[in-house]
């Protein structure tokens, strides 16, 4: 029995590592292929792919990018809209979140935990339950079809997300520093600006990046609330499904430009990914 055990183990461990490497390669390929496929869609001539989707013997054709993002292309406006809408939504959400985090972490009171849970609940609620009432209300104030309607709508998740991510950073500011500043006659407003803000800069960056990416990747609010030149990239990519045919190369070009931004930002902030995507529930 024990002889059998001994003879089996080395054989197993000899095979184990090559199998693990094989598994690792398969996993990486499986999870990267759809992303590379979008790049291929944009730069590979349709005739090359027709018979064999795996045919990589081609000279890249960048004309789809110049068509979509050239001076008269619809993609250029879409890119600007994505930047403007996500940027403004983030810039509006952060100051509100800073104030909320100060109130959530620096005072003791009943209902504090309930309030935190309310922010989390807003974050988890189905977006479709906001989109229809917001569409009705925003159309009454003529906010549909431009940048502002969608910037307002994004706040339904931007503020809660920023609060949940920033809260952990505010909690890490030691009470002693706060007390020392107050002893020196520093008011709470000054305290926030001079003591807290410099200490939570990394948190502001992390919260800002995630809020920006969540807005950037949004479709359900952007689709009904924007129109014409204010249509962002995610919605624009869908406009190349025409009755005359699907322009996959334009879709690919738009998709590539859209996905580069969150991919680079997530890569740069990968340390904070676990906390960011679980809305601060799991610390990475």
């Amino acid at each position: 029995m024990s002889v059998y055990e001994h003879s089996r183990r080395p054989a197993m461990s000899k095979l184990r590592r090559p199998l693990l490497y094989l598994a690792l390669i398969v996993v990486v390929v499986v999870f990267l292929v759809p992303i590379l496929w979008l790049v291929l869609l944009a730069i590979r001539p349709a005739s090359v792919a027709a018979g064999n989707p795996l045919n990589l013997n081609f000279t890249p054709d960048w004309s789809a990018f110049s068509y979509v993002f050239g001076s008269s292309g619809v993609g250029r406006n879409a890119l600007i809209s994505s930047v403007v809408q996500s940027g403004f939504a983030t810039v509006i959400a952060l100051p509100l979140a800073i104030l909320a985090c100060y109130g959530l972490t620096r005072f003791q009171y009943r209902g504090r935990e309930a309030l935190s849970l309310w922010y989390l609940g807003l974050m988890l609620a189905p977006p479709v339950v906001f989109v229809i009432p917001l569409f009705v209300v925003l159309s009454q104030v003529n906010f549909i079809g431009g940048d502002w309607g969608v910037i307002v709508a994004y706040q339904t998740f931007a503020i809660p997300l920023a609060v949940l991510l920033l809260r952990n950073f505010f909690e890490d500011v030691p009470v002693e520093i706060e007390e020392a500043a107050m002893m020196d006659g520093c008011g709470r407003g000054q305290l926030l600006v001079r003591v807290f803000l410099p200490m939570v800069v990394p948190g502001l960056v992390v919260a800002g990046i995630f809020v920006f990416c969540f807005c950037w990747n949004n479709l359900i609010f952007a689709m009904p609330l924007t129109g014409g030149v204010s249509v962002p990239l995610t919605v624009r990519a869908l406009s190349f499904f025409a009755t005359s045919g699907i322009s996959w190369n334009y879709i690919g070009a738009t998709a590539v430009v859209s996905m580069i931004v969150p991919m680079v930002l997530f890569w740069a902030f990968r340390k904070h990914l676990v906390s960011g995507l679980t809305f601060g529930a799991v610390k990475g």
Partner: protein, 311 residues
């Protein structure tokens, strides 16, 4: 006696340097007010407004204003609307199946990423990418890969001898829902894997060593030591994924628009079409509220298990 003691202990803070009386502005209210007011205006107000609309005849394609009180009519219609009830069942199935797949595959990938292999750090970073991109963009990638002519997936399936429906994978009622589900699994398995990996790395090496010394093999160590220790994180990720797959919209809208027929119409699409395609605001508002209550139950379940950290 105890009253005196508490009074004394309460008297101390006020005797501190700034000896002025505490006003309400000294408390947290002023700090919390801005974000709370904005969120009330953009979430609670529209939702209450939609609650009112859910009791009205309100169809923008008929008239720009509500046409009167409908009583519980919209709700009665919803609970007798087989399209909606089927969508609800389909959504539940979709959410359970994709969540289960994401957790199981996520665990397996996490176990793989925990191994000391060359290139494993690079692999970890690369696996962020599916989760980073917009679900709408992921949907586009898969829609293209499912294309009957020139798509990668039917091509590969035929190579290994698996038949593909002639209407295409997304064009067939029997395969469309599974196909869009696969997109979600592709996009969020790495997310589950990276979180579970972080949790596993948090398990102390001493505990694992102790298990090995006691004679447990690696499966036993995983089952009896690692798994129980990362259980809270597994529950958190499972509920997060369940809530978010129940809310699914983007990938299905992009890949099938809910078709063929209604075979991929989940509640998110059903509500969206009723409200923003047919402009039946009253009915869509009622559906919205039914979903809100259902999701609120799940969210509260989530909060009850993970939200109470006593802070």
């Amino acid at each position: 006696m105890s009253a005196v003691v508490t009074r004394q202990s309460q008297a101390r803070p006020t005797a501190r340097p700034a000896a002025r009386r505490r006003r309400w502005t000294d408390g947290p209210i002023l700090w919390l007010l801005p974000s709370v007011i904005v969120l009330l205006l953009i979430s609670l107000y529209p939702q209450l407004y939609s609650l009112i609309n859910s009791f009205r005849f309100y169809n923008l394609s008929v008239a720009a204003h509500p046409l009167g009180f409908a009583g519980a009519g919209n709700y009665v219609a919803a609970f007798t609307d087989t399209d909606f009830l089927n969508a609800l069942a389909r959504t539940t199935l979709f959410a359970i199946a994709t969540t289960a797949a994401e957790i199981v595959f996520g665990l397996l990938v996490a176990l793989l990423l925990r191994e000391k292999l060359r290139g494993v750090r690079l692999a970890r970073s690369l696996l962020i990418m599916p989760t980073a991109i917009a679900p709408a963009i992921a949907g586009l990638a898969f829609r293209s890969m499912y294309e009957p002519d020139g798509g990668l997936i039917p091509y590969l399936l035929q190579k290994v001898g698996i038949g593909v429906p002639s209407q295409g994978i997304l064009g067939s009622r029997s395969t469309a829902l599974a196909a869009v589900g696969l997109t979600d699994v592709w996009q969020w398995t790495p997310f589950a894997a990276l979180i579970l990996l972080a949790a596993m790395q948090g398990v102390s090496v001493d505990v694992l060593e102790a298990g090995r010394i006691d004679g447990a093999n690696s499966w036993q160590v995983f089952r009896s030591i690692v798994l129980p220790l990362i259980r809270p994180v597994i529950i958190t990720v499972t509920l997060l994924r369940f809530i978010s797959t129940f809310n699914v919209f983007d990938i299905i809208y992009v890949e099938t628009r809910g078709g063929p027929g209604v075979s991929t119409t989940v509640t998110g699409l059903d509500v969206y079409y009723n409200g923003l395609t047919y402009y039946n605001i009253g009915y869509a508002s009622a559906l919205t509220w039914i979903i809100t209550v259902l999701v609120a139950i799940v969210i509260n379940l989530y909060l009850a298990t993970t939200g109470r950290k006593g802070r």
